[in-house]
Amino acid sequence: MAQYRTQVRIIADVLTTAKDNNTEGTGVGVTTLLRKGNMSYARFSKLLSELVGSGLLVELDGDKISKYIISQKGIQFLNAYNAFEDFAQSFGLRL
């Protein structure tokens, strides 16, 4: 059954993708982030702008397409998210 994802969960999913798929250190493309983000392009573009604007993701200017890497602030957010998700789950709740 499809599960509803809260906004904070979607952000965590996108940041996790940016972190895990940046194996070569050259950043992650929009297509990969969009696929893992699992949402419409219009909605994803807005979210991406917000994440870059809030400093959770850093946009790298490539030759043809932009790539993104997770910032230190993004890693901190993910750590906090994981810790508090565990806490909420203890009470039978989701973040």
Binding site: M1, Q76, F84, F87, G92
Partner: protein, 215 residues
Amino acid sequence: MTTQPDMELIQNILQFIGVFVSFSIAYVAYRGVRQTESSSLLRLATAFIFLGFGFLIEGLVGLGNLVVLPISTTEVVVGGLLLETTGYFFLAFSHVVDVLISKRLGAALLVFPVITLTSTQLADILSILSFYFVLYGVVETVYSYARTRKPNTLLIAMGLSLIGVGTFFQWLSLLYQYVGVLSLLQIILQEMGLLILFTPVLSFAVGGSKVNGTV
């Protein structure tokens, strides 16, 4: 043999432990709200703030009885109970919202308040409402454990169960006020339950360096 003032003193000490545990859980949940802007944690924090203030008022009233302060009024007791019930309501409400946003049908909703209240006493009503709210929380937490298989979730379900039985005894103690041991039993069960609820806070504090170090 434990005398009545001794029992009241024990009850008061236990009430203040409940205040500490409730505010600790609320604090951690509030930190989570600030860092993740999670509405689930906001509801959890709200629930335990209400519970904490409810226990605080009940504890202060008990203390008032003990040292003969002029704060032992029925209205204040009902006020404390009202805060406590509101706290349990928010705890149940968190699960209701969780059920609704996950688009699954909470089987527990079937056991949600279906009772014919015969008593008109507000305190009675609040106690039995608390019992149902906690009961709902227990069922949803057990359901959540079946999904996540996290030991901490099972612990919380056990803690909530003890609180639930405690609130049931609270209701009984209001009906049978001459049986003094009922209110002591109620507080012991509630505090045991609250101490169990403290477990995630403890494990959070132990593993908290990871979060503190980075955020």
